[in-house]
């Protein structure tokens, strides 16, 4: 079997790590929970609602669906999906994110979810074999070097479908201008998601469906500065001068008082194989 897409994935993963002072840790995501949560709530979870709409239209989810989400963040999918389906299990290791899920669910009047407090790689998939109708994950798989193994684990727990929501041109959201101001000509990291994900699935003999959506996130100046600080701290030693560069960048790019980032995401789904 031709494994060129997997090799490319691993090369990109290793290249990203080699550029970093250190890899992400679970606590980094706790620090990001406020800004992440805000970005989902400012448009009433529109991204998650759009994904649900596509999956519903194509018969992938119904009101009876039991879904497990790999890396739930602040409830990006938990909130809009729990509103429409039977139950959501959120796999999420970061305390801050778990708190945001509970707060956001309470605010939305939702209780049909539970949280599995773990990183996905440590979830006992044998114990959960075929327990769900859908395994879904958004903007998370770039964290898995062993991508094929983790996809197979996602298939193992689903008796129905798997869905990956993968960013297109995922370098874009870090912004050339700010990156260059802080790190000069140091190459920018790539978060390999789409279309490489598709090629990996195809090499595995999977023929997925793909729909493309455009969406955006809006954050307050304080939250976007915090987001940039957590991100850039992984690549350079932050100091007051660099924090000032971030502040100037943010203040110069506000639209009606908000910092808006625009994304294009591939919604990729397929029938889970028996694992």
């Amino acid at each position: 079997m031709n494994r060129s897409a997997v090799l490319k994935w691993e090369e990109m993963y290793d290249a990203r790590l080699s550029m970093m002072n250190r890899d992400y840790m679970v606590d980094d995501w706790s620090k990001r929970s406020d800004d992440y949560s805000e970005s989902r709530k400012t448009d009433n979870y529109r991204y998650g609602r759009s994904v649900h709409e596509i999956l519903f239209k194509n018969g992938v989810v119904s009101p009876k669906t039991r879904m497990i989400e790999v890396g739930s963040g602040p409830g990006t999918f938990v909130i809009p999906f729990a509103d429409k389906i039977s139950h959501v299990t959120a796999v999420e290791p970061a305390d801050g994110m778990k708190e945001r899920i509970r707060e956001n669910a309470k605010e939305a009047g939702l209780s049909n979810f539970d949280i599995l407090s773990s990183i996905w790689q440590e979830v006992d998939v044998d114990g959960l074999s075929k327990s769900f109708d859908l395994t879904i994950s958004s903007t998370v798989i770039w964290m898995f070097r062993d991508i094929v193994e983790q996809i197979r684990r996602m298939e193992k727990v689903s008796s129905g479908y798997c869905c990956l929501c993968a960013g297109i041109d995922s370098k874009a959201h870090t912004g050339d201008e700010l990156w260059n101001a802080l790190l000069g000509d140091k190459p920018r990291p790539t978060f390999p998601e789409y279309p490489l994900t598709y090629d990996i699935l195809y090499e595995e003999g999977i023929h997925p469906e793909v729909r493309i959506i455009e969406h955006e996130s809006r954050r307050s100046p304080e939250n976007i500065m915090k987001m940039h600080q957590v991100f850039y701290n992984l690549f350079t030693d932050m100091n007051p001068d660099k924090e000032e560069i971030i502040r100037d960048h943010v203040m110069n790019h506000l639209e009606k008082g908000q910092y808006i980032m625009r994304f294009k995401t591939a919604i990729i789904w397929w029938k889970a194989r028996d694992m």
Binding site: Y194, P195, Y202, H207, E209, V210, I212
Partner: protein, 268 residues
């Protein structure tokens, strides 16, 4: 952009010789067996693409659709039943005759034919006049694929669509090997997708199960004419073809199941 990416180079190498072997004269000789396939399959892949697009909300009755390399109407006929107008680009007279015959049988009067190869159609007059440009099963005629895609985009004010069979090894591969014809293991669907993505176009995609159903005579003609692209068949070749046909006949029909990949995107 004025460079050829690796994928485009691969595509050009893959398609140059094959496209030369398949002139309009070749397709004239294939018109009868091809029409037999499309009609006996009840326009299967065209209907499935139409259903997909209806579900996606891409089809309405005011649309004008261009079908590039229409053949006997696999796409044109089912789409003509749902939209205002079809312009079929088809250089092989006999294929166009088969298309118009099928249209007449179904009392469809909204199909017109441009009797040229797509590469020679003057797109200036058609700029942004078409709602959806479809090229199904024909893109391998274009070694300069992206140039032709740009032309498809030029005439469309809505969507462009490419579709192609997804490579699935089956016993036809064994027959081709036994006949000493060049094996074609390249998956053109995934290559098309990568070419688009390398050019910054990220299409939506679907892979549909499709069925080829044709009379034994039609299948025989397809296989013999396919071999004639390379050399004159000999008696042992004809025997191998008969053996293959007998192994694949169900209820008097030659039936093959496969997959068709469909890529579509909105023209910006």
């Amino acid at each position: 952009m004025n460079f050829l990416t690796d994928y485009e180079q691969d595509w050009a190498e893959l398609c140059t010789n094959e496209s030369k072997r398949c002139s309009p004269e070749y397709w004239n000789s294939r018109a009868e067996d091809y029409a037999d396939f499309i009609v006996n399959s009840d326009f299967d892949h065209g209907r499935k693409i139409l259903e997909l697009f209806k579900k996606e909300g891409l089809i309405n009755q005011d649309m004008h659709i261009m079908d590039i390399g229409s053949g006997p109407g696999a796409i044109s006929i089912p789409f003509a039943e749902e939209v205002r107008a079809i312009t079929a680009v088809e250089p092989a007279d006999e294929m166009a005759n088969q298309l118009l015959k099928q249209a007449a049988l179904k009392s469809l009067s909204n199909i017109s034919v441009i009797p040229h190869i797509w590469q020679e159609v003057y797109t200036g007059d058609l700029e942004k006049k078409i709602d959806m440009t479809i090229c199904c099963h024909s893109v391998w005629h274009f070694p300069d694929l992206f140039t032709q895609i740009e032309r498809m985009q030029q005439v469309s004010r809505g969507y462009c669509v490419l579709s192609h069979g997804v490579h699935t090894p089956d016993d036809s591969s064994q027959l081709i090997q036994k006949l000493g014809m060049p094996q074609d293991d390249e998956d053109r669907f995934i290559l098309e997708k990568r070419i688009l993505e390398n050019r910054g176009i990220f299409p939506e995609s679907s892979i549909l199960p499709v069925k080829m159903r044709r009379t034994i005579g039609s299948a025989r003609s397809m296989l013999i004419l396919g071999l004639k692209k390379y050399r004159e068949p000999e008696i042992q070749d004809l025997n191998l073809i008969e053996e293959h046909l007998m192994m694949n006949v169900k209820n008097g029909m030659y039936v093959r199941e496969g997959k068709m990949g469909v890529l579509w995107w909105r023209v910006s």
